[in-house]
């Protein structure tokens, strides 16, 4: 559903550590540790700013990476949302 608002489940529980181009994120809620590459880390940063619909997420990420919001980026963001939701990092705003 394109108008769903996505937000980080509890950003106060996230602890990040950056080393070169990689970011490791610890979620104190789930106890899980996640490895983010550069692009995914920018995705996370986008969500740290505010909750977003999928379209807004694509546009904000494109802006951060200084690229065009093309079909490939749409697919990437779709997959990223699925992975983050399954990992318990992301939830819809009405959860």
């Amino acid at each position: 559903m394109p108008d769903l608002q996505w937000r980080l489940r509890n950003q106060d529980e996230l602890v990040t550590w950056r080393s070169n181009d990689e970011t490791v994120v610890y979620d104190a809620g789930s106890g899980d540790t996640h490895l983010f590459d550069l692009v995914a880390a920018e995705g996370l940063n986008s969500l740290l700013e505010s909750q977003l619909t999928e379209q807004e997420f694509v546009e904000r990420l494109a802006n951060r990476l200084d690229i065009k919001p093309d079909e490939q980026l749409h697919r990437y963001v779709g997959r990223l949302i699925e992975q983050l939701e399954a990992a318990g990092l992301l939830e819809t705003a009405d959860s």
């Binding site: 809620g29 789930s30 106890g31 318990g88």
Partner: protein, 359 residues
């Protein structure tokens, strides 16, 4: 020495006493507290009362270890509830958290320093199939790879076989009643659902205070599960102390105990929790509850079994008498005769079916 003067019980009743213990007293206390799962409660109390600097330095790393361990359990149970809620969001049933999960989510006093095993939830019986399907879709599998065990759980107990999450390895026990079908006493579970208290307006609930304490009593003295007897009685002591000041609490408990026919478990629960932890129970309540005592000679027998079951006498080896006491308490209200006539009942108890442990 009176049993209730045991050093471990003294420390649990009066944590400040920790500061007066000698090194050899701690040496005796430590393994007992570990094996009865109360060491993390003691550690939590030591932190809360700022006693660590007053204790012998040798015990501090052990209490720190226990404290860390309990904190992990607290996080894990909260996450488990979050995941269960997510998995069951489309199933039309309230989810009543039982025991430890309920204590943690409601931030009850007894949750401090508690370690948790399985997560227990209660759902509507006619939604059980949907619940199981949803859980399976979200990563849980039935834990029993023994066909007999699986049938036993479904046929005679009050729950699905334990469900283990494929990735987290955590175990979820899904109940549809609080007493097993093999028990002659059948609870009207609808009453518990009607009184359950939602958490933050969601469909995740906890039992009402009277039901919560009665469930604890039933778990110990009707189901007879004394595997963690000391910890469970300590929980009940703290629950009672916490609810003591609620308006109408005691009258509600007495009424409910009669309504659910749990008068005998409640008699036993109050008897032992007061004996071990000096739980404050109003005299008028004690007078009413005294009428629910069983006929002689049951009381002195249960007295002995409970004392034997709550504290191990041997640390280095199997305490056979304790295991026997736990086993006897677990079978005290005997299952219906027709269950003992089935093969399932006995096969489950055969030692040859026990799995070997992995290293």
């Amino acid at each position: 020495m009176e049993f209730s003067d045991h050093i471990l019980l003294q420390v649990l009743r009066d944590p400040e006493k920790m500061a007066t213990l000698s090194l050899s007293e701690w040496d005796a206390l430590k393994p007992l507290a570990r094996s009865t799962l109360v060491i993390s409660k003691i550690a939590a109390l030591a932190h809360k009362l700022d006693l660590l600097d007053l204790l012998p330095e040798q015990i501090v790393p052990h209490l720190t270890s226990a404290h860390v361990f309990a904190a992990r359990h607290d996080r894990a149970v909260r996450w488990e509830v979050n995941r269960v809620q997510r998995a069951l969001r489309d199933v039309n049933t309230p989810i009543i958290l039982l025991k430890g999960a309920a204590y943690a989510i409601s931030n009850m006093a007894c949750a401090t320093g508690r370690v948790y095993g399985d997560t227990d939830i209660l759902v509507l019986k006619d939604r059980l199939g949907e619940v199981e399907n949803s859980l399976t879709r979200h990563g849980w599998d039935t834990d029993e790879d023994n066909e007999y065990d699986e049938r036993y759980y479904r046929t005679w107990l009050h729950e699905l076989p334990p469900m283990r999450h494929r990735e987290r390895g955590t175990v979820l026990d899904v109940h549809h009643n609080i007493l097993p079908r093999i028990d002659k006493l059948q609870i009207n579970i609808q009453l518990l659902f009607e009184s359950a208290i939602p958490i933050n307006g969601t469909k995740v609930c906890v039992l009402s205070p009277p039901d919560m304490v009665l469930h604890s009593a039933a778990h110990l003295f009707r189901i007879g599960n004394f595997d963690h007897g000391l910890r469970d009685l300590a929980d009940l002591d703290e629950l009672i102390r916490q609810f003591n000041n609620l308006d109408g609490f005691w009258d509600s408990v007495l009424d409910r105990a009669q309504q659910l026919k749990l008068t005998l478990p409640w008699y036993s629960a109050t008897r032992y929790v007061e004996y071990l932890f000096h739980t404050p129970i109003p005299d008028r309540v004690k007078r009413t509850v005294a009428k629910w005592a069983p006929l002689w000679p049951e009381v002195p027998i249960i007295d002995r079994l409970v004392k034997r079951a709550v504290l191990p006498r041997k640390i280095d080896d199997r305490d056979v008498r304790r295991q026997m006491a736990i086993s006897l308490l677990g079978h005290w209200p005997l299952p219906r005769l027709k269950v003992t006539m089935t093969g399932l009942f006995w096969i489950k108890r055969m030692p040859w079916f026990a799995k070997q442990e992995k290293t």
